[in-house]
Symmetry: C2
Subunit: 283 residues, 2 copies
Protein backbone atom coordinates (compact mmCIF):
# COMPACT_ATOMS: atom_id res chain seq x y z
CA UNK A 1 0.00 0.00 0.00
CA UNK A 2 1.35 3.34 -1.06
CA UNK A 3 -1.54 5.69 -1.67
CA UNK A 4 -4.36 6.03 0.82
CA UNK A 5 -7.23 8.39 0.13
CA UNK A 6 -9.39 9.61 3.00
CA UNK A 7 -12.71 11.02 1.84
CA UNK A 8 -13.96 13.16 4.74
CA UNK A 9 -11.09 14.27 6.97
CA UNK A 10 -13.15 14.69 10.15
CA UNK A 11 -13.12 12.93 13.52
CA UNK A 12 -13.27 9.40 12.06
CA UNK A 13 -11.30 9.93 8.84
CA UNK A 14 -8.65 11.98 10.63
CA UNK A 15 -8.28 9.41 13.41
CA UNK A 16 -7.93 6.58 10.88
CA UNK A 17 -5.31 8.67 9.06
CA UNK A 18 -3.26 8.97 12.26
CA UNK A 19 -3.36 5.19 12.75
CA UNK A 20 -2.54 4.15 9.17
CA UNK A 21 0.32 6.63 8.92
CA UNK A 22 1.98 4.76 11.78
CA UNK A 23 1.80 1.50 9.81
CA UNK A 24 4.27 2.69 7.31
CA UNK A 25 5.78 6.16 7.05
CA UNK A 26 6.29 5.61 3.28
CA UNK A 27 2.53 5.76 2.77
CA UNK A 28 1.13 8.94 1.24
CA UNK A 29 -2.19 10.00 2.70
CA UNK A 30 -4.36 12.03 0.37
CA UNK A 31 -7.34 13.97 1.70
CA UNK A 32 -10.59 14.76 -0.08
CA UNK A 33 -13.20 16.96 1.58
CA UNK A 34 -15.81 19.38 0.25
CA UNK A 35 -15.13 21.57 3.29
CA UNK A 36 -12.01 23.51 2.25
CA UNK A 37 -11.27 24.64 5.82
CA UNK A 38 -11.30 21.05 7.03
CA UNK A 39 -8.91 20.10 4.25
CA UNK A 40 -6.52 22.92 5.15
CA UNK A 41 -6.76 22.00 8.84
CA UNK A 42 -6.08 18.33 8.05
CA UNK A 43 -2.98 19.36 6.11
CA UNK A 44 -1.63 21.69 8.78
CA UNK A 45 -2.37 19.09 11.49
CA UNK A 46 -0.41 16.60 9.30
CA UNK A 47 -3.36 14.20 9.23
CA UNK A 48 -2.91 14.14 5.44
CA UNK A 49 0.13 14.64 3.25
CA UNK A 50 -1.69 16.02 0.20
CA UNK A 51 -5.00 17.41 -0.93
CA UNK A 52 -6.74 15.47 -3.68
CA UNK A 53 -9.90 15.29 -5.77
CA UNK A 54 -12.17 12.41 -6.86
CA UNK A 55 -10.41 12.04 -10.24
CA UNK A 56 -7.20 11.10 -8.42
CA UNK A 57 -8.81 7.98 -6.92
CA UNK A 58 -7.53 5.80 -9.79
CA UNK A 59 -4.15 5.84 -8.00
CA UNK A 60 -5.60 4.63 -4.69
CA UNK A 61 -4.60 1.38 -2.99
CA UNK A 62 -7.04 2.10 -0.16
CA UNK A 63 -9.96 4.54 0.09
CA UNK A 64 -11.54 5.34 3.46
CA UNK A 65 -15.01 6.88 3.17
CA UNK A 66 -15.85 8.74 6.36
CA UNK A 67 -18.58 11.22 5.49
CA UNK A 68 -22.26 11.46 6.50
CA UNK A 69 -24.19 8.32 5.50
CA UNK A 70 -26.40 10.09 2.94
CA UNK A 71 -23.27 11.34 1.15
CA UNK A 72 -21.76 7.84 1.30
CA UNK A 73 -24.89 6.31 -0.22
CA UNK A 74 -24.80 8.87 -3.01
CA UNK A 75 -21.06 8.95 -3.74
CA UNK A 76 -20.00 5.34 -3.17
CA UNK A 77 -20.99 4.02 -6.65
CA UNK A 78 -18.95 6.78 -8.30
CA UNK A 79 -15.99 6.13 -6.00
CA UNK A 80 -16.01 2.46 -7.03
CA UNK A 81 -16.22 3.54 -10.68
CA UNK A 82 -13.07 5.59 -10.21
CA UNK A 83 -10.80 3.14 -8.39
CA UNK A 84 -8.58 0.45 -9.93
CA UNK A 85 -9.36 -3.28 -9.78
CA UNK A 86 -6.88 -3.72 -6.93
CA UNK A 87 -8.17 -0.96 -4.68
CA UNK A 88 -10.00 -1.50 -1.41
CA UNK A 89 -12.78 0.93 -0.49
CA UNK A 90 -13.97 0.93 3.14
CA UNK A 91 -16.82 2.95 4.58
CA UNK A 92 -17.33 3.70 8.27
CA UNK A 93 -20.99 4.71 8.45
CA UNK A 94 -23.35 4.16 11.36
CA UNK A 95 -25.95 2.55 9.07
CA UNK A 96 -25.23 -0.40 6.84
CA UNK A 97 -28.35 -1.59 4.94
CA UNK A 98 -28.80 1.47 2.68
CA UNK A 99 -25.11 1.73 1.95
CA UNK A 100 -24.75 -1.96 1.08
CA UNK A 101 -27.86 -1.71 -1.08
CA UNK A 102 -26.46 1.29 -2.98
CA UNK A 103 -23.65 -0.87 -4.39
CA UNK A 104 -25.17 -4.37 -4.34
CA UNK A 105 -25.05 -4.71 -8.11
CA UNK A 106 -21.99 -2.57 -8.74
CA UNK A 107 -19.41 -4.30 -10.98
CA UNK A 108 -16.74 -3.43 -8.39
CA UNK A 109 -18.76 -4.61 -5.36
CA UNK A 110 -15.84 -6.92 -4.51
CA UNK A 111 -13.61 -3.87 -4.00
CA UNK A 112 -15.85 -2.59 -1.19
CA UNK A 113 -15.97 -3.51 2.51
CA UNK A 114 -18.84 -2.22 4.67
CA UNK A 115 -17.76 -1.47 8.24
CA UNK A 116 -18.88 0.41 11.31
CA UNK A 117 -16.11 1.11 13.81
CA UNK A 118 -17.85 1.68 17.16
CA UNK A 119 -15.72 4.61 18.24
CA UNK A 120 -16.03 8.33 18.34
CA UNK A 121 -16.63 11.31 20.53
CA UNK A 122 -19.31 14.00 20.50
CA UNK A 123 -16.94 16.29 18.60
CA UNK A 124 -16.37 16.55 14.86
CA UNK A 125 -13.94 17.88 12.27
CA UNK A 126 -10.20 17.26 11.78
CA UNK A 127 -9.27 18.97 15.05
CA UNK A 128 -11.29 16.29 16.88
CA UNK A 129 -9.16 13.47 15.39
CA UNK A 130 -7.47 11.32 18.04
CA UNK A 131 -4.60 8.87 17.81
CA UNK A 132 -5.60 5.46 19.16
CA UNK A 133 -9.34 6.24 18.99
CA UNK A 134 -10.02 2.71 17.74
CA UNK A 135 -7.80 0.70 20.11
CA UNK A 136 -9.78 -2.06 21.82
CA UNK A 137 -12.99 -0.97 20.12
CA UNK A 138 -15.40 -3.12 18.13
CA UNK A 139 -15.54 -2.95 14.34
CA UNK A 140 -18.72 -4.36 12.85
CA UNK A 141 -18.14 -5.78 9.39
CA UNK A 142 -21.05 -6.53 7.08
CA UNK A 143 -21.26 -8.86 4.08
CA UNK A 144 -17.57 -9.73 4.23
CA UNK A 145 -18.25 -12.59 1.81
CA UNK A 146 -18.97 -10.02 -0.91
CA UNK A 147 -15.46 -8.54 -0.68
CA UNK A 148 -12.57 -10.09 -2.62
CA UNK A 149 -10.42 -12.46 -0.49
CA UNK A 150 -7.18 -10.53 -0.78
CA UNK A 151 -8.94 -7.26 -0.01
CA UNK A 152 -10.62 -8.84 3.06
CA UNK A 153 -7.13 -9.76 4.18
CA UNK A 154 -5.79 -6.26 3.57
CA UNK A 155 -8.63 -4.75 5.59
CA UNK A 156 -8.23 -7.16 8.51
CA UNK A 157 -4.51 -6.43 8.69
CA UNK A 158 -5.22 -2.72 9.00
CA UNK A 159 -7.97 -3.18 11.60
CA UNK A 160 -5.81 -5.51 13.68
CA UNK A 161 -2.98 -3.00 13.73
CA UNK A 162 -5.51 -0.35 14.77
CA UNK A 163 -6.34 -2.67 17.69
CA UNK A 164 -9.97 -3.36 16.78
CA UNK A 165 -12.06 -6.45 17.55
CA UNK A 166 -13.99 -7.73 14.54
CA UNK A 167 -17.70 -8.67 14.68
CA UNK A 168 -19.51 -9.97 11.60
CA UNK A 169 -23.19 -9.21 11.08
CA UNK A 170 -25.61 -8.78 8.22
CA UNK A 171 -26.57 -5.16 7.45
CA UNK A 172 -30.18 -5.54 8.66
CA UNK A 173 -29.17 -7.03 12.03
CA UNK A 174 -26.55 -4.28 12.42
CA UNK A 175 -29.09 -1.53 11.79
CA UNK A 176 -31.64 -3.06 14.16
CA UNK A 177 -29.27 -3.53 17.11
CA UNK A 178 -27.41 -0.27 16.62
CA UNK A 179 -30.73 1.63 16.69
CA UNK A 180 -31.03 0.53 20.32
CA UNK A 181 -27.47 0.84 21.59
CA UNK A 182 -26.44 3.95 19.70
CA UNK A 183 -29.07 5.85 17.73
CA UNK A 184 -31.64 5.88 20.57
CA UNK A 185 -29.03 7.20 23.03
CA UNK A 186 -28.48 10.19 20.77
CA UNK A 187 -32.18 11.04 20.55
CA UNK A 188 -32.55 10.54 24.30
CA UNK A 189 -29.70 13.00 24.93
CA UNK A 190 -30.85 15.55 22.33
CA UNK A 191 -34.40 15.66 23.69
CA UNK A 192 -33.17 15.81 27.30
CA UNK A 193 -31.05 18.79 26.34
CA UNK A 194 -33.98 20.41 24.55
CA UNK A 195 -36.35 19.88 27.49
CA UNK A 196 -33.94 21.42 29.96
CA UNK A 197 -32.96 24.35 27.71
CA UNK A 198 -36.63 25.16 27.05
CA UNK A 199 -37.38 25.20 30.75
CA UNK A 200 -34.29 26.98 31.91
CA UNK A 201 -34.22 30.12 29.84
CA UNK A 202 -31.74 31.53 32.28
CA UNK A 203 -28.69 29.51 31.38
CA UNK A 204 -26.76 30.58 34.40
CA UNK A 205 -29.25 28.54 36.43
CA UNK A 206 -28.65 25.41 34.40
CA UNK A 207 -24.95 25.90 34.67
CA UNK A 208 -25.04 26.28 38.44
CA UNK A 209 -27.44 23.49 39.31
CA UNK A 210 -26.37 20.86 36.83
CA UNK A 211 -23.87 18.29 37.99
CA UNK A 212 -21.76 15.63 36.34
CA UNK A 213 -24.78 13.34 36.06
CA UNK A 214 -26.62 15.72 33.76
CA UNK A 215 -23.44 16.39 31.79
CA UNK A 216 -22.94 12.68 31.17
CA UNK A 217 -26.56 11.97 30.22
CA UNK A 218 -26.80 14.89 27.81
CA UNK A 219 -23.28 14.65 26.36
CA UNK A 220 -24.33 13.23 22.99
CA UNK A 221 -26.54 16.29 22.37
CA UNK A 222 -23.32 18.01 21.27
CA UNK A 223 -23.15 15.70 18.23
CA UNK A 224 -23.30 16.98 14.65
CA UNK A 225 -26.81 17.22 13.08
CA UNK A 226 -25.17 16.98 9.64
CA UNK A 227 -23.98 13.51 10.58
CA UNK A 228 -26.99 12.37 12.62
CA UNK A 229 -30.06 13.48 10.63
CA UNK A 230 -29.07 11.21 7.69
CA UNK A 231 -28.43 8.29 10.07
CA UNK A 232 -31.94 8.59 11.51
CA UNK A 233 -33.35 8.87 7.99
CA UNK A 234 -31.56 5.77 6.70
CA UNK A 235 -32.42 3.74 9.79
CA UNK A 236 -35.91 5.17 10.09
CA UNK A 237 -37.96 2.05 10.86
CA UNK A 238 -35.63 0.67 13.53
CA UNK A 239 -35.12 4.05 15.17
CA UNK A 240 -38.88 4.66 15.30
CA UNK A 241 -39.37 1.21 16.85
CA UNK A 242 -36.76 1.87 19.54
CA UNK A 243 -38.13 5.36 20.20
CA UNK A 244 -41.63 3.95 20.51
CA UNK A 245 -40.51 1.45 23.17
CA UNK A 246 -38.53 4.14 24.99
CA UNK A 247 -41.51 6.53 25.07
CA UNK A 248 -43.71 3.66 26.22
CA UNK A 249 -41.37 2.85 29.12
CA UNK A 250 -41.18 6.52 30.12
CA UNK A 251 -44.98 6.81 29.97
CA UNK A 252 -45.40 3.75 32.21
CA UNK A 253 -42.93 5.28 34.65
CA UNK A 254 -44.89 8.53 34.66
CA UNK A 255 -48.23 6.72 35.08
CA UNK A 256 -46.84 4.81 38.08
CA UNK A 257 -45.72 8.10 39.64
CA UNK A 258 -49.18 9.58 39.11
CA UNK A 259 -50.69 6.54 40.86
CA UNK A 260 -48.12 6.79 43.70
CA UNK A 261 -46.97 3.28 42.82
CA UNK A 262 -43.44 3.78 44.09
CA UNK A 263 -42.96 0.04 44.55
CA UNK A 264 -43.17 -0.24 40.77
CA UNK A 265 -40.79 2.72 40.37
CA UNK A 266 -38.36 1.04 42.77
CA UNK A 267 -38.45 -2.32 41.00
CA UNK A 268 -38.09 -0.71 37.55
CA UNK A 269 -34.87 0.91 38.75
CA UNK A 270 -33.65 -2.16 40.60
CA UNK A 271 -34.13 -4.37 37.53
CA UNK A 272 -32.28 -1.87 35.36
CA UNK A 273 -29.34 -1.64 37.80
CA UNK A 274 -28.30 -4.85 36.10
CA UNK A 275 -26.85 -2.53 33.40
CA UNK A 276 -23.82 -2.28 35.72
CA UNK A 277 -22.56 -5.70 34.67
CA UNK A 278 -23.12 -4.89 31.00
CA UNK A 279 -21.40 -1.52 31.19
CA UNK A 280 -18.39 -2.95 32.95
CA UNK A 281 -17.33 -4.33 29.61
CA UNK A 282 -17.53 -0.96 27.79
CA UNK A 283 -14.63 1.41 27.84
CA UNK B 1 -15.89 21.65 66.85
CA UNK B 2 -14.86 18.39 68.45
CA UNK B 3 -17.58 15.84 67.80
CA UNK B 4 -19.02 15.35 64.34
CA UNK B 5 -21.76 12.78 63.77
CA UNK B 6 -22.38 11.45 60.27
CA UNK B 7 -25.78 9.78 59.91
CA UNK B 8 -25.51 7.60 56.82
CA UNK B 9 -21.90 6.73 56.03
CA UNK B 10 -22.36 6.21 52.28
CA UNK B 11 -21.00 8.01 49.23
CA UNK B 12 -22.01 11.50 50.42
CA UNK B 13 -21.58 11.07 54.20
CA UNK B 14 -18.29 9.24 53.74
CA UNK B 15 -16.93 11.87 51.34
CA UNK B 16 -17.90 14.68 53.73
CA UNK B 17 -16.17 12.76 56.54
CA UNK B 18 -12.94 12.65 54.51
CA UNK B 19 -13.07 16.41 53.97
CA UNK B 20 -13.93 17.47 57.55
CA UNK B 21 -11.30 15.18 59.03
CA UNK B 22 -8.70 17.18 57.13
CA UNK B 23 -9.93 20.40 58.77
CA UNK B 24 -8.68 19.36 62.12
CA UNK B 25 -7.20 16.00 63.07
CA UNK B 26 -8.41 16.53 66.67
CA UNK B 27 -12.00 16.12 65.52
CA UNK B 28 -13.69 12.83 66.36
CA UNK B 29 -15.99 11.56 63.64
CA UNK B 30 -18.81 9.33 64.84
CA UNK B 31 -20.80 7.22 62.39
CA UNK B 32 -24.43 6.18 62.61
CA UNK B 33 -25.92 3.83 60.05
CA UNK B 34 -28.67 1.22 60.18
CA UNK B 35 -26.60 -0.88 57.76
CA UNK B 36 -24.09 -2.61 60.08
CA UNK B 37 -21.83 -3.63 57.19
CA UNK B 38 -21.58 -0.05 56.00
CA UNK B 39 -20.69 1.04 59.53
CA UNK B 40 -17.95 -1.59 59.79
CA UNK B 41 -16.65 -0.65 56.33
CA UNK B 42 -16.63 3.05 57.28
CA UNK B 43 -14.60 2.21 60.37
CA UNK B 44 -12.08 0.03 58.58
CA UNK B 45 -11.77 2.60 55.77
CA UNK B 46 -11.11 5.19 58.55
CA UNK B 47 -13.97 7.38 57.30
CA UNK B 48 -15.18 7.43 60.92
CA UNK B 49 -13.34 7.09 64.23
CA UNK B 50 -16.20 5.54 66.23
CA UNK B 51 -19.57 3.92 65.83
CA UNK B 52 -22.44 5.70 67.56
CA UNK B 53 -26.21 5.63 68.08
CA UNK B 54 -28.91 8.34 68.04
CA UNK B 55 -28.80 8.77 71.85
CA UNK B 56 -25.19 9.96 71.57
CA UNK B 57 -26.23 12.99 69.48
CA UNK B 58 -26.45 15.21 72.58
CA UNK B 59 -22.64 15.43 72.42
CA UNK B 60 -22.61 16.57 68.78
CA UNK B 61 -21.20 19.90 67.59
CA UNK B 62 -22.14 19.06 64.02
CA UNK B 63 -24.48 16.43 62.57
CA UNK B 64 -24.42 15.57 58.87
CA UNK B 65 -27.56 13.79 57.68
CA UNK B 66 -26.82 11.90 54.45
CA UNK B 67 -29.49 9.24 54.12
CA UNK B 68 -32.33 8.75 51.63
CA UNK B 69 -34.73 11.73 51.65
CA UNK B 70 -37.69 9.76 53.04
CA UNK B 71 -35.57 8.72 56.03
CA UNK B 72 -34.37 12.33 56.46
CA UNK B 73 -37.95 13.59 56.49
CA UNK B 74 -38.90 11.01 59.12
CA UNK B 75 -35.84 11.20 61.37
CA UNK B 76 -34.89 14.88 61.22
CA UNK B 77 -37.36 16.07 63.92
CA UNK B 78 -36.03 13.43 66.35
CA UNK B 79 -32.42 14.33 65.52
CA UNK B 80 -33.14 17.99 66.38
CA UNK B 81 -34.82 16.83 69.61
CA UNK B 82 -31.63 15.02 70.57
CA UNK B 83 -28.99 17.67 69.85
CA UNK B 84 -27.83 20.47 72.14
CA UNK B 85 -28.72 24.12 71.63
CA UNK B 86 -25.29 24.77 70.10
CA UNK B 87 -25.30 21.96 67.57
CA UNK B 88 -25.58 22.42 63.80
CA UNK B 89 -27.53 19.82 61.82
CA UNK B 90 -27.04 19.79 58.02
CA UNK B 91 -28.87 17.58 55.55
CA UNK B 92 -27.69 16.85 52.00
CA UNK B 93 -30.83 15.59 50.30
CA UNK B 94 -31.75 16.02 46.64
CA UNK B 95 -35.19 17.40 47.57
CA UNK B 96 -35.69 20.38 49.86
CA UNK B 97 -39.40 21.30 50.21
CA UNK B 98 -40.58 18.18 52.13
CA UNK B 99 -37.53 18.19 54.36
CA UNK B 100 -37.85 21.89 55.23
CA UNK B 101 -41.55 21.39 55.87
CA UNK B 102 -40.89 18.46 58.23
CA UNK B 103 -39.11 20.79 60.68
CA UNK B 104 -40.70 24.18 59.91
CA UNK B 105 -42.25 24.48 63.37
CA UNK B 106 -39.61 22.54 65.29
CA UNK B 107 -38.35 24.43 68.39
CA UNK B 108 -34.79 23.76 67.20
CA UNK B 109 -35.40 24.87 63.57
CA UNK B 110 -32.54 27.39 64.03
CA UNK B 111 -30.12 24.50 64.56
CA UNK B 112 -30.84 23.12 61.08
CA UNK B 113 -29.42 24.06 57.68
CA UNK B 114 -31.00 22.61 54.52
CA UNK B 115 -28.43 21.97 51.77
CA UNK B 116 -27.99 20.07 48.54
CA UNK B 117 -24.38 19.60 47.50
CA UNK B 118 -24.48 18.95 43.73
CA UNK B 119 -21.89 16.21 43.70
CA UNK B 120 -21.88 12.47 43.54
CA UNK B 121 -21.27 9.49 41.36
CA UNK B 122 -23.51 6.64 40.28
CA UNK B 123 -22.03 4.47 43.06
CA UNK B 124 -23.11 4.19 46.68
CA UNK B 125 -21.94 3.00 50.09
CA UNK B 126 -18.81 3.90 52.12
CA UNK B 127 -16.46 2.29 49.59
CA UNK B 128 -17.68 4.84 47.03
CA UNK B 129 -16.59 7.78 49.24
CA UNK B 130 -14.08 10.09 47.53
CA UNK B 131 -11.76 12.73 48.94
CA UNK B 132 -12.34 16.07 47.24
CA UNK B 133 -15.72 15.04 45.79
CA UNK B 134 -17.11 18.49 46.59
CA UNK B 135 -14.24 20.68 45.37
CA UNK B 136 -15.47 23.33 42.92
CA UNK B 137 -19.02 21.98 43.09
CA UNK B 138 -22.20 23.94 43.82
CA UNK B 139 -23.93 23.69 47.19
CA UNK B 140 -27.53 24.84 47.16
CA UNK B 141 -28.59 26.27 50.51
CA UNK B 142 -32.26 26.77 51.32
CA UNK B 143 -33.90 29.03 53.90
CA UNK B 144 -30.56 30.18 55.33
CA UNK B 145 -32.41 32.94 57.20
CA UNK B 146 -34.06 30.30 59.38
CA UNK B 147 -30.68 29.08 60.70
CA UNK B 148 -29.01 30.80 63.68
CA UNK B 149 -26.33 33.32 62.63
CA UNK B 150 -23.39 31.64 64.31
CA UNK B 151 -24.42 28.26 62.91
CA UNK B 152 -24.73 29.76 59.40
CA UNK B 153 -21.17 30.92 59.85
CA UNK B 154 -19.97 27.53 61.04
CA UNK B 155 -21.58 25.85 58.03
CA UNK B 156 -20.12 28.31 55.52
CA UNK B 157 -16.64 27.87 56.97
CA UNK B 158 -16.90 24.12 56.45
CA UNK B 159 -18.30 24.42 52.90
CA UNK B 160 -15.62 26.94 51.93
CA UNK B 161 -12.87 24.63 53.12
CA UNK B 162 -14.53 21.82 51.14
CA UNK B 163 -14.18 24.12 48.12
CA UNK B 164 -17.89 24.52 47.37
CA UNK B 165 -19.67 27.47 45.73
CA UNK B 166 -22.77 28.57 47.60
CA UNK B 167 -26.11 29.27 45.87
CA UNK B 168 -29.17 30.36 47.84
CA UNK B 169 -32.67 29.35 46.76
CA UNK B 170 -36.03 28.72 48.31
CA UNK B 171 -36.97 25.03 48.64
CA UNK B 172 -39.73 25.17 46.02
CA UNK B 173 -37.49 26.77 43.37
CA UNK B 174 -34.77 24.22 44.18
CA UNK B 175 -37.13 21.29 43.71
CA UNK B 176 -38.51 22.66 40.46
CA UNK B 177 -35.15 23.35 38.80
CA UNK B 178 -33.46 20.21 40.09
CA UNK B 179 -36.30 18.09 38.64
CA UNK B 180 -35.07 19.22 35.21
CA UNK B 181 -31.31 19.18 35.58
CA UNK B 182 -30.97 16.12 37.79
CA UNK B 183 -34.05 14.02 38.47
CA UNK B 184 -35.15 13.85 34.81
CA UNK B 185 -31.65 12.75 33.72
CA UNK B 186 -31.91 9.77 36.05
CA UNK B 187 -35.29 8.66 34.67
CA UNK B 188 -34.03 9.20 31.12
CA UNK B 189 -31.04 6.94 31.81
CA UNK B 190 -33.01 4.28 33.71
CA UNK B 191 -35.61 3.96 30.95
CA UNK B 192 -32.94 3.95 28.23
CA UNK B 193 -31.24 1.09 30.07
CA UNK B 194 -34.54 -0.76 30.45
CA UNK B 195 -35.45 -0.33 26.76
CA UNK B 196 -32.11 -1.68 25.57
CA UNK B 197 -31.98 -4.56 28.08
CA UNK B 198 -35.51 -5.63 27.12
CA UNK B 199 -34.60 -5.67 23.45
CA UNK B 200 -31.19 -7.21 23.75
CA UNK B 201 -31.81 -10.38 25.71
CA UNK B 202 -28.42 -11.57 24.59
CA UNK B 203 -26.18 -9.36 26.67
CA UNK B 204 -23.08 -10.24 24.77
CA UNK B 205 -24.61 -8.35 21.85
CA UNK B 206 -25.15 -5.21 23.91
CA UNK B 207 -21.66 -5.43 25.26
CA UNK B 208 -20.09 -5.77 21.82
CA UNK B 209 -22.09 -3.14 19.97
CA UNK B 210 -22.37 -0.47 22.61
CA UNK B 211 -19.80 2.27 22.62
CA UNK B 212 -18.80 5.03 24.96
CA UNK B 213 -21.80 7.13 23.88
CA UNK B 214 -24.29 4.59 25.20
CA UNK B 215 -22.22 4.10 28.36
CA UNK B 216 -22.29 7.82 29.07
CA UNK B 217 -26.00 8.28 28.37
CA UNK B 218 -27.06 5.30 30.50
CA UNK B 219 -24.52 5.76 33.32
CA UNK B 220 -27.01 7.07 35.89
CA UNK B 221 -29.05 3.85 35.54
CA UNK B 222 -26.51 2.33 37.94
CA UNK B 223 -27.81 4.61 40.72
CA UNK B 224 -29.39 3.27 43.91
CA UNK B 225 -33.20 2.78 43.81
CA UNK B 226 -33.24 3.08 47.63
CA UNK B 227 -32.00 6.63 47.23
CA UNK B 228 -33.92 7.59 44.09
CA UNK B 229 -37.45 6.23 44.58
CA UNK B 230 -37.99 8.52 47.63
CA UNK B 231 -36.59 11.53 45.71
CA UNK B 232 -39.12 10.99 42.90
CA UNK B 233 -41.87 10.56 45.49
CA UNK B 234 -41.03 13.77 47.36
CA UNK B 235 -40.62 15.77 44.17
CA UNK B 236 -43.53 14.10 42.43
CA UNK B 237 -45.26 17.07 40.80
CA UNK B 238 -42.11 18.66 39.38
CA UNK B 239 -40.73 15.35 38.17
CA UNK B 240 -44.01 14.49 36.44
CA UNK B 241 -44.03 17.90 34.78
CA UNK B 242 -40.47 17.48 33.48
CA UNK B 243 -41.19 13.92 32.35
CA UNK B 244 -44.29 15.08 30.55
CA UNK B 245 -42.32 17.69 28.60
CA UNK B 246 -39.58 15.18 27.84
CA UNK B 247 -42.06 12.59 26.53
CA UNK B 248 -43.74 15.32 24.50
CA UNK B 249 -40.45 16.32 22.87
CA UNK B 250 -39.59 12.70 22.10
CA UNK B 251 -43.06 12.14 20.61
CA UNK B 252 -42.70 15.20 18.37
CA UNK B 253 -39.31 13.89 17.23
CA UNK B 254 -40.85 10.50 16.43
CA UNK B 255 -43.80 12.09 14.60
CA UNK B 256 -41.40 14.14 12.47
CA UNK B 257 -39.50 10.97 11.58
CA UNK B 258 -42.74 9.23 10.60
CA UNK B 259 -43.55 12.18 8.33
CA UNK B 260 -40.01 12.17 6.86
CA UNK B 261 -39.59 15.73 8.10
CA UNK B 262 -35.83 15.50 8.47
CA UNK B 263 -35.47 19.27 8.20
CA UNK B 264 -37.30 19.48 11.54
CA UNK B 265 -35.11 16.67 12.96
CA UNK B 266 -32.01 18.57 11.79
CA UNK B 267 -33.10 21.88 13.32
CA UNK B 268 -34.13 20.23 16.61
CA UNK B 269 -30.61 18.88 16.93
CA UNK B 270 -28.93 22.05 15.73
CA UNK B 271 -30.83 24.17 18.27
CA UNK B 272 -29.91 21.76 21.05
CA UNK B 273 -26.21 21.78 20.11
CA UNK B 274 -26.24 25.03 22.04
CA UNK B 275 -25.92 22.78 25.14
CA UNK B 276 -22.17 22.76 24.34
CA UNK B 277 -21.74 26.24 25.79
CA UNK B 278 -23.75 25.34 28.87
CA UNK B 279 -21.88 22.10 29.49
CA UNK B 280 -18.51 23.77 29.16
CA UNK B 281 -19.10 25.16 32.62
CA UNK B 282 -19.81 21.77 34.24
CA UNK B 283 -17.02 19.62 35.45
Amino acid sequence: MKNIYIIGVGLIGGSIAKDVKKLNPEITIHGIDKNKNHLEDALSLKLIDKKAVFDDLEKADLVIVSIPVDATEMLLPGILDNVSDDALVIDSGSTKASICKAVENHPKRRNFLATHPIAGTEFSGPKAALEGLFANKTNIICEIEKTAFKLQERALTIFKIMGMHMRYMNPEAHDKHIAYVSHLSHISAFMLGKTVIEKEKNERDIFDLAGSGFASTVRLAKSSPRMWAPIFKQNKSHVIESLDEYINNLSKFKAAMELDDFDFIFSEMENTNHIKQILNGIQ
